[in-house]
């Protein structure tokens, strides 16, 4: 049977195309600009494909500062956050979902508050704490404040709550202790959600500009985002092709992560009832 072409299906298709163009075009523009010469990047009318691919833009970015270090910092911060978040989020979600204890509602309320208060409200006092702890010359101020992922705790708790209590009771009858219940029963069932939370968290941390901008007090602890930002000042004027080449370097890891996990990310949102 042929699918029927109705007015609505045409409109719906056109809308999707328009949405895609709106989201993809800036991305496309960033990439092709990163491959242009300076002349071409400011030429009018603009070209939609570089006359010649200028790979040396990327070399220039790489040589204009300690980009290997920036990249290392970005990875160290992102992965450090992931590890700490995992270690805190999993037992916290388990406790909030499945254990009876005094003040459970109150503490979960605190988590929700932490989820709703923006960083812009807390960064001054956190900066102060980090400075008093003498940590400003290290990566810790970029990692520690993000160790507890309130949104992640919320999502994973929702997921754990859907697991029937009988499974845990059955495991208790099978002589499993709480740690085994968590690792053998709960975690495998929460895995899709957990993976998505950690991927989202990786992307957020990797892309974060505001937080390191406040907390990174020397070039030694700059992540890539600050490094790319510094490209603006190199020549005094805006070398768009260099800045865009830097941005391309910045987003490549994100694209890889997303390409691998996008199905999981979408599914986690569907599970949690947000989508």
């Amino acid at each position: 049977m042929k699918p029927k072409i109705t007015v609505w299906s045409v409109v719906s298709f056109l809308l999707k195309v328009i949405l895609m163009v709106i989201f993809i075009f800036p991305f496309y523009w960033m990439i092709i600009t990163g491959f242009k010469t300076y002349q071409e990047s400011i030429a009018f009318p603009p070209s939609f494909w570089p006359a010649q691919l200028q790979w040396e833009n990327f070399v220039k970015v790489w040589e204009s500062g300690p980009y290997l270090l920036y990249m290392f910092n970005s990875f160290a911060v992102s992965i450090g956050c992931l590890v700490l978040q995992f270690l805190i989020m999993v037992p916290a979600s388990y406790a909030f979902a499945k254990m009876e204890f005094k003040g459970r509602g109150f503490f979960f309320g605190l988590v929700m508050v932490a989820f709703m208060v923006p960083q812009q409200v807390t960064f001054i006092s956190i900066f102060h704490m980090m400075s008093r702890a003498n940590l400003l010359k290290t990566l810790w101020p970029q990692i520690l404040p993000h160790a507890a992922n309130a949104f992640g705790i919320f999502l994973l708790r929702q997921n754990f709550m859907q697991i029937p209590d009988e499974l845990l009771e059955s495991a208790r009858l099978d002589n499993a202790n709480e740690f085994q219940i968590l690792t053998s029963v709960m975690l495998p069932m929460g895995k899709p959600t957990l993976v998505s939370i950690l991927m989202l968290s990786f992307i957020t941390t990797w892309n974060n500009y505001f937080w390191p901008f406040i907390m990174a007090s020397s070039q030694n602890v700059y992540p890539l985002t600050l490094g790319i930002d510094a490209l603006r000042d190199v020549e005094g004027s805006f070398d768009w092709q260099i800045i865009m080449a830097g941005n391309v370097i910045l987003v490549v890891p994100i694209i890889i992560v997303y390409a691998i996990f996008h199905k999981r990310i979408v599914r986690a949102f569907a599970y949690s009832g947000i989508k």
Binding site: E166, L167, E169, S170, L173, D174, N175, Q180, V185, M189
Partner: protein, 344 residues
């Protein structure tokens, strides 16, 4: 040996009393069936034995040892949950093996046990499958295998057949009886289905609203009920119960204990009635008969009586049961028995 004793077991959820001072002995090696309407506390009682839903007060003994404070795994009991509670991310084999591993059973011993049990339960070819791909009957068998492999002293089963279709339910009933005969372990089996209770149980515990109504063998429960609730809960259609005119005392007789005749017969209790409905069920026929403002159900092997015709009903004296104003049985050895019987 595995005999269970409850002493003054009470369970409350908040202020709500679910089990009220239960005293009970479950015999070693018995197939004890707990039956009662939904919400009467059957699951709650099982969970108290298993240790996963502790009692509010009172004690549980297993073979004379007070196990009230023991964690579930130390009690030597296995439970088959109503929803089976199979670990969905593990294969069938891993499901069965989980408890053994946690109990530090060596690998070759585990393999031997799993092989033996899956042969008995008939799930050999399923061992590498994930539970998500299995049917209700197969899951039920896995839950059973998982319980059996631990060689527990007591099997606790919470309505294990209620999620199966009618045909499978009947065949699993036979299999469970065979299993019990073979293992000779104590079974505590919860159901709300009286056919299951009567056909499987060596003993039946009938509960209502957190109180044990009667504990006896199936035939005693059927023929010699202690009270009105028991008399009416067991039997289908349920026992006909009629009041003595202007009195609180009632009498009852089972539909299958009534004889239908065209002429008045020689019975202790004889009435003339009118057949209102007739339901032919194959080997037997259910008649609804009206007389003196009462309506009774009668189950008969005789199909020859017609709807809208008059008929005589007759019941023998031992088949008439009396219940006092508190709904308790008045038995033949009771002083009041003859006095009430003479009024019929």
């Amino acid at each position: 040996m595995a005999e269970i004793r409850f002493e003054e077991i009470t369970k409350k959820f908040g202020d709500k009393v679910i089990l009220d001072h239960i005293n009970l002995d479950i015999e070693d090696g018995s197939f004890t069936v707990m039956i009662g309407p939904s919400g009467c506390g059957k699951t709650t009682l099982l969970r108290i034995i298993a240790g996963i839903g502790p009692q509010t007060s009172g004690k549980v003994f297993l073979d004379g040892e007070d196990i009230s404070g023991l964690p579930p795994a130390k009690r030597n009991v296995a439970m088959v949950f109503q929803n089976y509670a199979i670990y969905p991310t593990m294969t069938v084999k891993e499901n069965i093996e989980f408890g053994l591993k946690n109990n530090k059973v060596p690998k070759d011993e585990r393999e031997r046990l799993i092989g033996e049990i899956s042969e008995i339960v008939g799930i050999h070819e399923l061992l590498d499958r994930k539970p998500g791909t299995l049917s209700g009957g197969q899951r039920q068998r896995i839950a059973l295998a998982r319980a059996m492999v631990k060689k527990p002293k007591v099997f606790l089963m919470d309505e294990p057949l209620s999620n199966l279709d009618a045909k499978l339910r009947v065949s699993m009933r036979t299999e469970l009886i065979e299993l019990h005969n073979r293992l000779k372990t104590t079974f505590v089996y919860v159901t709300h289905d009286q056919t299951e209770a009567m056909s499987m149980g060596t003993r039946i515990i009938l509960m209502n609203k957190g109180v044990i109504q009667q504990e006896a063998t199936p035939s005693v429960i059927y023929q010699d009920p202690d009270n009105l609730f028991t008399a009416q809960f067991i039997g289908s259609p349920q026992m006909n119960v009629l009041p003595f005119p202007d009195e609180k005392v009632r009498y009852g007789f089972r539909p299958e204990k009534v004889h239908l005749t065209n002429e008045p017969g020689q019975y202790f209790y004889t009435r003339k009635g009118h057949i209102v409905t007739k339901e032919m069920l194959g080997s037997e026929t259910i008649y609804q008969v009206r007389y003196e403002g009462n309506s009774v159900m009668i189950k008969s092997l005789e199909d020859s009586f017609e709807q809208d015709h008059d008929v005589y009903i007759g019941v023998k004296k031992p088949n008439i049961l009396l219940f006092d104003e508190d709904e308790r049985r008045i038995r033949p050895d009771d002083a009041r028995y003859e006095q009430w019987m003479s009024k019929l």
